[in-house]
């Protein structure tokens, strides 16, 4: 077992409403950043997880996303393994 450090990004589905992204886009434009063309806002989650392998860690995280972390109606997700601490199961 090693402890994997994962980053999960959950993102609003293209085409779906993103009121927060719209508000930030607007705010950036009115602050003078008029080169901004699009803003979408999602969540970034950082999870420390025990797993036997990187694949297992990723699969587990994807299962978490399907079950809980992302709303299948409105969101897509991406999982990245960003680090591993060998044998570290605290």
């Amino acid at each position: 077992m090693s402890q994997y450090h994962l980053e999960i990004r959950v993102k609003p589905r293209p085409g779906l409403l993103d009121p927060q992204g719209k508000a930030i886009h607007h705010a950036l434009n009115s602050l003078g950043w008029d080169g901004v063309h699009d803003v979408r806002v999602g969540k970034a989650m950082y999870i420390d997880l025990d797993a036997a392998s990187e694949d297992e860690a990723r699969n587990t995280a994807e299962a978490m996303c399907r079950k809980l972390l992302a709303n299948p109606v409105t969101e897509d997700f991406e999982v990245t393994v960003v680090g591993v601490a060998e044998g570290a199961t605290s």
Binding site: A23, H26, A27, N29, S30
Partner: protein
């Protein structure tokens, strides 16, 4: 300066020797100064201990003898406030005051400030302020039933101010909404007097059966002390005490955040768990871990119980590894409580907490030796006599001298501001000033109806909550006009009291008691100490005359930036009892053709008015005179009229004067705007007549056939009364006719000016300025 009280060091049992903890810094004069203790205060610490304190002990004294916990500069003055009445069950000194409201019910209530945290991080600062005041209420055994918020900021034209304002409102809203406690009112003002230092005061009311009252004291030798709720982290450990980095090897700057993050969800569970704990009889005392965390909660519980405590830092559930006793003792992590379990009931405490998905851990026990002893496993890290720690903080009486600038401003000749060229335009300018305009941009972000008991929501003079199963209701308001306080602190405090009482009687409630929040600058400066003392004296007088004792409150001093202090702001949080829900009255006119009646007398006073500020950018003149006895007669008269059932609406006349008060009556909540046709005959300068803020005035409406009876009751009470006009038709014109000019405004313009002023500023494209 003189030290006026505190136990004399000679009377105290000296503390036993305690070895310094390995890694602790050496106690130097600099370190002592970093901990905010003066050389005299440190001498007293040495006297109490009979030896040099350990680093941990220094931290403990520093926290307990801070202004916040020790009331060094205000205690003497606070003793001047009346605190007793037959209906007071619990006066100052506990987590909250409690009054008897009849039919077996008691009301707990208190106000608390979170000014500094909100200046650093408005959202979390305000949110955790609400969290703290809620805990103060439910640790008394009461279920919170309402919150109010009293806010002050600089001028809204600054991006920074808008950032603070919107963050604070969101923070208050998110916390209270999540907890399910309705917001029923508050106040806000914008004035450069608060530019660098926003004022964020939150008040909470809680309801209980009389017998459910529980206090925060620790007694019963051997009884377990348990930490319940959230874990302890490194947050909120006082910045000032950490001037030097080598203080603790285990933690670096970045891992010791200066702000606390609120978790209203955990607090909601803690609320339910605490009330269940109290009802179960498994505990004998409970206290919030607020400012100065475990240190103040444990030592104060010991102090109040006349006992001692021994707690072990190794047993405190922590959020991060490697925390030192110093850090654990001083952490201000939120949503934590300390409880004293009845003998053998620890398991019951755990079971109840576990049901609510929270932790409970035994961290120590009550002792009979009167000491506040802190262990780290087997090692003693602090051993201090509890009473001198909690009660022995030196308190100071300082010299107060009025500032010269204020004397000059107060004496300023205002005769040049008395005439108006275009009364309607000036009227709209005053009505549309953010200080007068509708505050619904704020309270539409607050859940005002949860608990299904809110009879009057924000937007009228006072909020009212009915008590299920009875005919009664309770009303509450917060009031203070900082400009009046600045120009003349004593009058400012008296006016705050008078306005609060008027707000309650206009709602149909009998003013019953107050809590207060004294927000001031640096009391070491003579002119600030003068303000503080004068304000307390004024408040005390009004409390006596209104028979509204003080049951608790909060003092927030040192509200200064670059040497500039806020306006003296003694916020009054007043509660009242509505004897019968049929008496509940609101400010909005209701029926076309009703008589509009003015109680009280118009004057030529303009000093400190919103008119001078909004139109002439001036804070000057003497505040309006306030006659406390006349105010009391006015209160009695209005209540008598309401009891007879002949009052259709009642509204206090305050900021913006009579013209704005009439507009607010006409506008109501904006759904149906009624016309107004009022004629004023007073021979007064026009600005004063329309916008002067003379005290002791209430605008009410009644059916025309009751107008004579209203006048008769006013006469009986010696209150001046005049029928000044008639309520007009829906969407009718707003018209005030005076000998020197006419204000004539369409309902549309009236409505837009009043309701859109704040949204127009706040909902414009963001100009982030974190």
């Amino acid at each position: 300066m003189s030290i006026v009280d505190g136990t004399s060091p000679e009377d105290m049992v000296k503390a036993p020797h305690v070895d310094p903890r390995p890694g602790d810094p050496e106690i130097t004069p600099e370190l002592v100064a970093d901990h905010g203790l003066s050389p005299e205060e440190y001498e007293r610490v040495l006297g109490i201990l009979g030896r040099t304190p350990t680093f941990t002990e220094l931290g403990i004294f520093s926290a307990m003898w801070s202004e916040h916990c020790g009331y060094k500069n205000s205690k003497r003055l606070l003793r001047l406030l009346p605190t007793e009445a037959p209906w007071v069950i619990q006066g100052p000194g506990e987590n909250a005051g409690v009054i008897d409201i009849g039919e077996g019910y008691a009301l707990a209530f208190k106000i608390e400030s979170h000014n500094h945290p909100s200046a650093v991080e408005p959202y979390q600062g305000a949110a955790t302020g609400v969290g703290g005041i809620l805990r103060d209420i439910f640790t008394m055994g009461a279920r919170p039933i309402a919150v109010l918020d009293s806010l002050r900021f600089g001028r809204l034209d600054s991006g920074r101010v808008r950032y603070l304002f919107s963050g604070v409102v969101k923070g208050i809203g998110d916390y209270g909404n999540c907890m399910g406690i309705p917001n029923i009112g508050g106040e806000v003002s914008f004035d450069e007097g608060y530019e660098g230092n926003p004022i964020v005061n939150a008040m909470c009311l809680g309801l209980m059966k009389r017998e459910e009252l529980i206090t925060a004291s620790a007694s019963g030798d051997g009884n377990s002390l348990m930490a319940v709720g959230a874990r302890t982290g490194r947050d909120g450990i006082h910045g000032a005490t950490f001037a030097s980095e080598e203080l603790s090897a285990d933690s670096d700057e970045s891992s010791r955040p200066q702000v606390q993050v609120g978790d209203p969800f955990t607090e909601k569970l803690l609320l339910e768990a605490s009330l269940e704990l109290i009802a179960s009889g498994a505990i004998s005392g409970i206290q919030d871990m607020g400012a100065a965390g475990i240190t103040s909660s444990a030592s104060e519980m010991a102090g109040r119980g006349g006992s001692g405590v021994e707690i072990d830092m190794a047993r405190v559930p922590v959020r991060e590894p490697g925390m030192t006793p110093y850090e654990i003792l001083l952490s201000e992590s939120q949503e934590r409580m300390l409880v004293v379990a009845e003998p053998g009931r620890e398991g019951d405490v755990r079971r109840i907490l576990e049901k609510w998905e929270l932790e409970a851990e035994v961290i120590g026990h009550v002792t009979s030796d009167g000491r506040f002893r802190v262990m780290e496993g087997d090692r003693v890290v602090a051993d201090i006599p509890a009473l001198p720690l909690t009660e022995g903080c030196p308190t100071y009486e300082r010299e107060g001298v009025e500032g010269e600038e204020v004397q000059r401003l107060r004496a300023m000749d205002l005769s040049g501001y008395m005439d108006l060229d275009d009364p309607a335009a000036t009227f709209l300018k005053v009505l549309g000033s953010p200080n007068v305009a509708s505050k619904r941009w704020i309270y539409h972000q607050y859940d005002t109806t949860v608990r299904s008991s809110t009879a009057v929501r924000p937007g009228s003079d006072a909020g009212v909550v009915r008590i299920r199963g009875t005919r009664k209701a309770v009303a509450a308001t917060t009031d203070c006009n900082g400009r009046f306080g600045y120009l003349e602190p004593r009058a400012g405090a008296e006016i705050a009291m008078a306005e609060a009482a008027r707000n309650l009687v206009c709602s149909g409630a009998i003013p019953t008691a107050i809590t207060n929040n004294l927000n001031f600058g640096n009391p070491l400066k003579p002119h600030i100490y003068h303000q503080l003392r004068e304000a307390v004296l004024g408040m005390a007088d009004a409390c006596r005359i209104f028979e509204t004792p003080v049951t608790g409150g909060n003092v927030s001093l040192f509200n200064e930036t670059d040497g500039v202090a806020i306006y003296p702001t003694p916020v009054v949080g007043m509660v009242g009892v509505v004897e019968d829900v049929d008496h509940i009255t609101t400010q909005a006119f209701r029926e076309t053709g009703d008589a509009v009646i003015l109680l009280g007398r118009n004057t030529d006073e303009l000093g400190g008015s919103e008119y001078l500020y909004a139109v002439h950018d001036l804070v000057a003149g003497a505040p309006p005179a306030v006659d406390l006895l006349a105010e009391r007669h006015l209160q009695n008269a209005v209540l008598a009229m309401i009891r007879e059932g002949i009052v259709r609406s009642a509204h206090d006349c305050s900021e913006g004067g009579l013209a704005c008060a009439l507009a607010e009556c006409a506008l109501g909540n904006g759904e149906t705007v009624l016309g107004v046709d009022v004629t004023l005959t007073d021979d007064l300068p026009l600005a004063a007549l329309l916008f002067g803020e003379a005290q002791g005035r209430i605008v009410l409406s009644c059916a025309p056939e009751h107008a004579d009876r209203v006048a008769a009751i006013a006469d009986e009470h010696g209150v001046p009364v005049a029928r000044i006009g008639t309520v007009g038709a829906p969407a009718g014109t707003f018209r005030i006719t005076t000998p020197k000019g006419i204000v004539d405004v369409t309902p549309d313009v009236l409505s837009k000016t009043y309701f859109e002023a704040i949204p127009r500023i706040m909902d414009a494209p963001a100009t982030g300025d974190a």
